[in-house]
Symmetry: C2
Subunit: 185 residues, 2 copies
Amino acid sequence: MQQRNADRTKARILEAATEEFAARGIAGARVSRIAEVAGCNKAMLYAYFGNKDELFDAAFTASVAQYLDEVGFDVDDLPAYAGRVFDYFEAHPERLRLSTWYRLERPDGQPLEAIVAVNQARLDELHRGMRRRVVPRQFTAVTLLSLIQAIATHWTSMNPEYGVDVPNPIIRRRAVVMAVQKILS
Amino acid sequence: MQQRNADRTKARILEAATEEFAARGIAGARVSRIAEVAGCNKAMLYAYFGNKDELFDAAFTASVAQYLDEVGFDVDDLPAYAGRVFDYFEAHPERLRLSTWYRLERPDGQPLEAIVAVNQARLDELHRGMRRRVVPRQFTAVTLLSLIQAIATHWTSMNPEYGVDVPNPIIRRRAVVMAVQKILS
DNA sequence: GCCTAGCAACCAACTGGTTAGTTGATTTCC
DNA sequence: GGAAATCAACTAACCAGTTGGTTGCTAGGC
């Protein structure tokens, strides 16, 4: 077991940061808590990531990259895509929280290049799908993408006032897939 | 013009608090900024609302009450209801932000009684609608309510990586209403 | 194989500024 | 005259970021 390893320390900081930021947001996160969870000194964190804000950027960018990598897109079966998005955030609710914090706390932050590029690619695919008559044309491509995203994550982003009545994951997933099917019909 | 008026001061504090909390969340909000915007001293704020957290509660509760009061529910025309929800948050995006902050920063906060009651009433109405065959039964009532909410607010809760392609409000509204119609078909 | 110089990794303790919350006095109105 | 409304100034704690120094790893000479 190495006692010194820059890469490993960096990775541990990023992991701890993701956890802390997902739980408390940028303003609510405590740098000292991140350092503690990462098992290192605050100074390391500043050496590797600059400052609190840049650390959030690093954590969020990594999180998004992992999401885009793991959840592929498929114009030919959008309900299945919605199902996968549902599965992903069911397994990693903290990723959705991170994304929401980003939206709330960086209201006029420059959109991340990586996401813009992927979104553009998906929009292009949707347009091609529409020309091929695989995707209906009642909604614009942006609307469709955004609607599907909203439907796939609607449970996770729900306020907690429904209590007991919320169905189990299997039923929720089925509802997501069915809703997207209906949107496309 | 009165120089002293407890009710008016209280109202101004609440207004300023809503603005500040909507913009920056609980952790990011600054009590001194709220006092400044409200045109009074910090001490007033503590005299009237106890502390920062209770001030947020007051602002959020008032905001929700106003929303529930303004946007009525109508089982017989759910697409129109979705349209009204869309209109409301288009006109008051800060209310949606406030609600999102609440969800993120109070992950295990006790659900607000007022919302729980209204939701239960709406669920009951949906159930009656289902029995009357006015509302389809493919989704459970909770699912429907949650789906409609998600669809009606999907633009506002979108991350900002779509840029220029986002359609104008009229088209967005039409998309919301149409999507809910399709969900119900 | 052993020693050591130099550098990268690491940290305890500190700093300067900020922040939620308080206090004790002052003003205004009835 | 007294109660309610208001505030300037204060406090104690907190927190992002820094500093100055220590420790472990390794390359290269012997």
